[in-house]
């Protein structure tokens, strides 16, 4: 059962909307837990032996795809998986659309410029800590061009994706993504969808225990679910989050303010930002790279290098792409069926080599597979995920 916690920037589904979300969760649990493993059996029992006999060698991923997409079992699973993804968004869009005006009002009230903390007065009923609390900020740039790799198709089939404004001051894309992410991951990211941020923070604390970052940048932050984790892990640090999508940033800002986690959000492209050279101790991203492109990858790494002070650290959390050809084929389902166009190319991209092309010294770059030591509370909702981490020191 999901540990996801409702908060005031999310709509309250009515009875049937809740039932739809519950159904999507049950359906997807079945598709990935019961039906998807059957594709491995079909492949091992029937498809792989036939391919080996025909080719006289092990098949490559394209040959596996050609054979598997002809298999009725795989066709059914795949078609249902696709429909479940559409249903997932539909089940979240309905309540969001209904409550959107109130959610936009709430976000706008939180985006007002910070009132200068008044001097302590006897009449003030607010405690001192609340008055002097650090605020989040939001800086949008309507002239920022959307990268083609981001806008050509709607990533993850989310209608309108991360960037479409349906009305003035829209926050819908963020609202939908937050609850949709919880449903997509079967609740595995925890109460605040924070598991990826927690994983990368755990990596830093394990591998770089002396690091006390004063400035942290989270690239491709979307709703700031991981950014907030960094702000909480290093409360003395100034934490920034950037993304190209305006509605997700408005939402991220309102959400972080509601959580009392100070984050500075700005609408910028990770390939080239307006931050000063050498101005960050830590630049991170969480499952962002596989949504970009081949040319963008190098530009992003070069920008990370520019932004880091000497000795600063770049960390990108990614999804391992599978060790066997069949695993790779199954991982790449998302690429062909869930509008993750670039993710299939990531299977054969050497991230360390790309980081070197971006200007990092070979000896300062590493790619690790990392599983976080989980707390008992985390084990209640999450599997012990293994992530791929690209780490490079300036």
């Amino acid at each position: 059962m999901s540990a996801f916690k409702h908060h005031d920037m999310l709509p309250t589904p009515d009875h049937d909307e809740q039932a739809r979300q519950d159904f999507v969760a049950s359906l997807r649990g079945h598709l990935s837990g019961r039906l998807m493993p059957g594709a491995y059996q079909i492949y091992e029992r029937r498809v792989a032996p036939a391919l080996r006999a025909e080719l006289g060698r092990e098949p490559d991923e394209t040959e596996v795809r050609r054979a598997m997409t002809r298999e009725p079992y795989y066709q059914f699973w795949s078609a249902m998986q696709r429909r479940s993804q559409e249903m997932l968004w539909e089940s979240v869009i309905d309540p969001t659309e209904r409550e959107l005006p109130a959610l936009i009002d709430r976000a706008k009230s939180r985006a007002k410029p910070a009132v200068k903390a008044p001097k302590a007065s006897k009449t003030s009923k607010e405690p001192r800590a609340a008055r002097s609390r650090r605020r989040s900020s939001l800086r949008l740039d309507p002239s920022l061009p959307l990268p083609r790799y981001h806008a050509a198709v709607d990533i993850h089939l989310q209608p309108g994706a991360y960037h479409t404004d349906s009305t003035a001051d829209d926050v819908a894309a963020g609202v939908i993504y937050d609850k949709g992410l919880d449903l997509y991951m079967g609740g595995a990211l925890g109460a605040e969808n924070g598991l990826m941020g927690e994983t990368l923070v755990a990596y830093v604390k394990e591998r770089h225990p002396a690091l006390r970052p004063r400035r942290v940048l989270d690239m491709g932050c979307a709703i700031g679910n991981s950014t907030v984790v960094w702000a909480r892990a290093f409360p003395e640090a100034e934490v920034h989050g950037i993304d190209v999508g305006a509605p997700v940033l408005r939402y991220a800002h309102a959400r972080a303010e509601g959580f009392g986690a100070p984050v500075h959000f700005s609408q910028q492209n990770a390939e080239g930002t307006d931050f000063g050279s050498g101005s960050f101790d830590l630049v991170v991203s969480h499952i962002m790279l596989h949504e970009t492109s081949k040319p963008a990858l190098q530009r992003i790494f070069a920008e990370c290098r520019r932004l880091l002070r000497p000795g600063g650290l770049m960390l990108h959390l990614e999804i391992p792409r599978g060790h066997t050809v069949f695993e790779q084929f199954m991982h790449n389902w998302e690429s062909y069926n869930n509008n993750e166009t670039f993710s299939r190319y990531m299977t054969h991209i050497d991230l360390a080599a790309e980081a070197v092309k971006g200007g990092f010294a070979r000896s300062k770059v590493r790619v690790d597979e990392f599983a976080m030591q989980m707390s008992v509370a985390q084990m209640n909702y999450a599997e012990n995920f293994i992530w791929k981490i690209l780490a490079a020191e300036r």
């Binding site: 739809r20 049950s26 959107l100 829209d170």
Partner: protein, 134 residues
């Protein structure tokens, strides 16, 4: 006794009686990008799409009935707002989760049957034919 509803007092108007209704925002429902074709006949894609939508709505209806029964049991009186506001307790949530899992399992047998068929080499129909032919 059935409540009379005038057209002017829509569901939305009753929910927000003090606010003038602004033009509702319509959010997009279709993702940009081409839908893949999964079966040799595109009609099968559409039929499966519809079946799954029906499956969802059936599940929704069952959840609603479940709510109704529990509310009736708990309060002895049926009121519409009781159903809308019902939040299942942990026990009810867990019972619902098991029922949903069972339902999904039953629906998916169409796909899973192939797995059990592929695990046995002998054709049972061949055996049946031999048996009936004597």
């Amino acid at each position: 006794m059935a409540r009379r509803r005038t057209p002017a007092r829509s569901k939305a108007a009753r929910k927000h009686p003090t606010k003038a209704a602004p033009t509702p925002v319509r959010l997009p429902r279709i993702a940009k990008g081409k839908k893949p074709q999964y079966f040799s006949d595109p009609a099968i894609d559409k039929l499966l799409w519809m079946t799954m939508t029906l499956m969802e709505e059936l599940s929704v209806a069952r959840d609603r009935i479940d709510t109704l029964e529990r509310v009736l049991d708990e309060r002895g009186v049926l009121r519409q707002k009781d159903i809308e506001g019902y939040t299942p307790d942990p026990k009810a949530r867990s019972a619902r989760a098991s029922r949903r899992a069972e339902f999904v399992d039953r629906m998916m047998r169409a796909a899973q049957a192939e797995l059990s068929a592929s695990s046995s080499a002998a054709d049972p129909h061949e055996e049946a034919r031999r048996a009936v032919e004597g």
